[in-house]
Symmetry: C2
Subunit: 480 residues, 2 copies
């Protein structure tokens, strides 16, 4: 004992020695009343300074594991760990249908995973090499020196006030009229969407969305027990005739749309269609949740108003924003902009779920944004992603035999194959050749999309794009 302790570099030595002795006591290898070696003795045995041993013994005393008696020594306290019946539950049999469904719909668990050496087009996460770490660090240091203590203590459910104010201005700059509206900061789009559905829908309610749509949104709608009414898309957005029909034939209580860089198709809804869509929903008195997905990654010059701007002072659009697809998804910061009474109700739900989002992260993000870093970053990111996008499009046209290539920007394109081709078969063979992507069926409702897939390219080099797309194309030709 004691001489067999192996010390490492990654933790303070006194903590390693404390933990070693603690474990000896907990395992019953040192028993009540037993005298520990003197600090002088132990420091020689282990080969550390005597102060390290003194500190370790002091911490052990603080935590009640030993008693230090002056002039006599250090003795193990009475630690009776009277282990009970090792009683085991079968937890699986106790899981709720909700828990089973969350597991079943968890694509991370069920889809093929990236393996070392593969070219991956699976993800649409941004390329973290573009992040401007120095600006981020500066934002941390500036904000932390101003109000570090405050940021580490409890904050407010609605969010960090300066960030809320900043985001209000940001939305105004998109043309949104903010009178009578307010913002709630959330842990990304996912939490925002989940809370809005909790506040406004009950199992069995009908929700209308584009078909396909964001697979996380599909998962959340299913977890809320909603009937999903999927409406097919045209190349400039949702099919208006089918939208009209679906709203007439179903008791739809809520709509969910992704007008910009729609996930997974990459389609940007045209300005004319935006107005028509809004009027159609208004005629049916069905409110809308708008996902402001990747709005910031416009490569072309034209300004496009979000639906939340087009409805003027009306309060019928709930806009969920996030910078996560562009910038710092690891922070999980998003926001809901909507009618201020509704936001106040959502604030209570937020408080009941996790009290508030990290105040430190909100404050760093605020400082980063307020200093004008987003504009600077976007200038660089747009240029680089646009080059990748153009090259991906070129390679897709050259190598991948298909019916349609969709995607007007953002970080991905979407491929539609001939109807008799199955994208999962293509995927299986591609994985054998070390290329992976996202099969399209996970984005579809009503069992469609078997002949589609999504290619994310943000983190790929041009060479990976060329090589990977060529392999995909060859596989498809082999199956035709």
């Amino acid at each position: 004992m004691f001489s067999d302790i192996s010390l490492t570099d990654d933790k303070p030595l006194y903590i390693q020695i404390r933990d070693y002795i603690k474990q000896m006591i907990l395992k019953g290898l040192l028993s009540q009343g037993q005298k520990l070696p003197s600090t002088r003795e132990l420091c020689n045995t282990i080969g550390v300074s005597r102060n390290t041993i003194i500190l370790a013994y002091e911490y052990l005393e603080d935590e009640g594991f030993v008693q230090i008696i002056k002039g006599r020594g250090t003795f193990v306290s009475d630690i009776t760990i009277d282990y009970q019946d090792e009683w085991n539950m079968d937890w699986t049999s106790r899981l709720t249908p909700y828990a089973h469904l969350a597991n079943q719909l968890d694509i991370v668990k069920h889809e093929s995973r990236w393996q070392k050496g593969m070219i991956s087009f699976k993800s649409i996460a941004p390329d973290d090499k573009l992040f401007d770490l120095d600006d981020f660090k500066r934002a941390f240091l500036d904000r932390f020196s101003l109000e570090g203590e405050k940021l580490l203590n409890y904050g407010y459910a609605q969010g960090y006030k300066p960030l809320i104010d900043y985001l209000m201005g940001y939305m105004e700059n998109k043309g949104v009229k903010t009178q009578g509206k307010d913002i709630l900061v959330t842990n990304g789009f996912t939490e925002g969407f989940d809370m809005v559905l909790s506040a406004l829908t009950e199992p069995g309610d009908h929700i209308l969305c584009e078909n396909p749509t964001h697979n996380t949104a599909v998962k959340i709608m299913k977890l809320h027990g909603l009937e999903i009414v999927g409406v097919d898309m045209e190349d400039d957005g949702i099919d208006l005739d089918k939208l009209q029909e679906a709203l007439s034939n179903n008791p739809v209580s809520m709509g969910f749309l992704i007008p910009s860089y729609h996930n997974p198709t990459g389609i940007v809804m045209s300005p004319e269609k935006r107005v028509e869509v809004l009027n159609t929903f208004a005629r049916h008195r069905v409110p809308l949740i708008e996902d402001g997905f990747n709005e910031e990654l416009r490569y072309s010059g034209s300004h496009l108003s979000p639906l939340a701007a087009l409805c003027g002072r009306g309060n019928s659009i709930i806009y969920i924003g996030s910078l996560s697809k562009v910038l710092f998804p690891g922070l999980r910061i998003g926001w809901i902009l909507g009618d201020s009474h509704l936001i106040s109700q959502l604030e209570s739900i937020k408080r009941s779920r996790n009290i508030h989002s990290s105040f430190l992260d909100q404050a760093i993000l605020y400082e980063y944004l307020a200093a004008g870093n987003l504009e600077k970053y976007l200038k660089k990111a747009r240029r680089i992603y646009r080059e990748k996008y153009d090259y991906a499009l070129e390679c897709a046209q050259r190598y991948i035999p298909c019916k349609k290539i969709l995607g007007e920007g953002g970080l991905h394109i979407f491929i539609e194959l001939d109807h008799n081709l199955n994208a999962r078969k293509v995927l299986d063979e591609c994985i054998r050749q070390n290329v992976i992507f996202m099969p399209g069926d996970i984005f579809y409702i009503h069992g469609k999309g078997a002949n589609t897939f999504r290619l994310g390219f943000a983190r790929c080099t041009p060479e990976e794009i060329r090589q990977g797309f060529k392999i995909i194309g060859d596989v498809i030709r082999g199956l035709e």
Copy 2:
């Protein structure tokens, strides 16, 4: 126009000028095709450098608000914001019962608030003046320089691996046997408890807890539609006879206990009672959720095993931990330790709720903990809080006429008045005299606790404690 722009210091000038012009365009004050002043002209009008104007115009072009035509000038683009029918919803009529209940149970909205100048015993948040900001900053800088990019991109639902490993060791040091168990990182206790209930309970299920118990837990149990079976407490923890009776007479499917520094009473469950309680639950085959509340703030020397340690290799305890009451609640980091299959199910729920907790915060916390800062911090915090606790106890005994003073440590004490006294009446009068505290009834089930209240002292000076307790005592005497 243009000359009336008012520039401030808190944002880059080009952004302020860009936003000003954007708003002019969005409001229709600058119309399509209109030529903007030359950069030379505008820089003189506003009194900034010409480069600032050039930058502002470039950003406006990036976002599609203007077109810059070389040799001719800068022209407003076609921004048709065709505001639609200002269509308004009555959101309140659409709220779910869940949303109404979340609002109704939100004590932040319904309890009296602290006003400037008041002495507040309402909160049990830690004193942020004790936070060691330099150590925290060092942890940020160290970890960020190692893997900043990675931390800002997407992470994993289960949590940041080094933090999970650290917490596993931390739990082993409390005597917990971790074989077959795993950890999920959550946004604090609140999210952990909410997710566990989602996974394992359905509306109408019976859950047993101490009466009183943590008011956030009461809120969450009610939001899940559970029947709450509250069991009275004795001075050393839950009443064993009543526990036995409650388990026999109700179809209880889950227990929830706070064995250490119980909130709100401050009672620490005795070691003997811990064993008895565990055996009682085991006999009834009812699993337990253990809230490891404030375990770290032991002032006395004796080591106390959490229930999760006493059950040995059994898997029937779900332990929810958090450092939030001691350290950095603003980060919202907590964890669930339990059976590894169960943790895997909870991981899917976590992913469906908000993908994961902030990786940046998890990594900073890991670095902070691994460097041994927690031990150092606790040494200081325990000493200071213990002094405050001793003084608060002394003042309570001296000034507040009551039946019982409870609380063996932590950051609060709990007062039980004579049965005919109402704590809310005391509170109303105290508020008039600028003293505020938390009425006890919010912690109780079955309508009890009208004669109780909680006094948090972590952020009070000794003088505030003395003066505030004296006022409370005088008010009580006036009502007797």
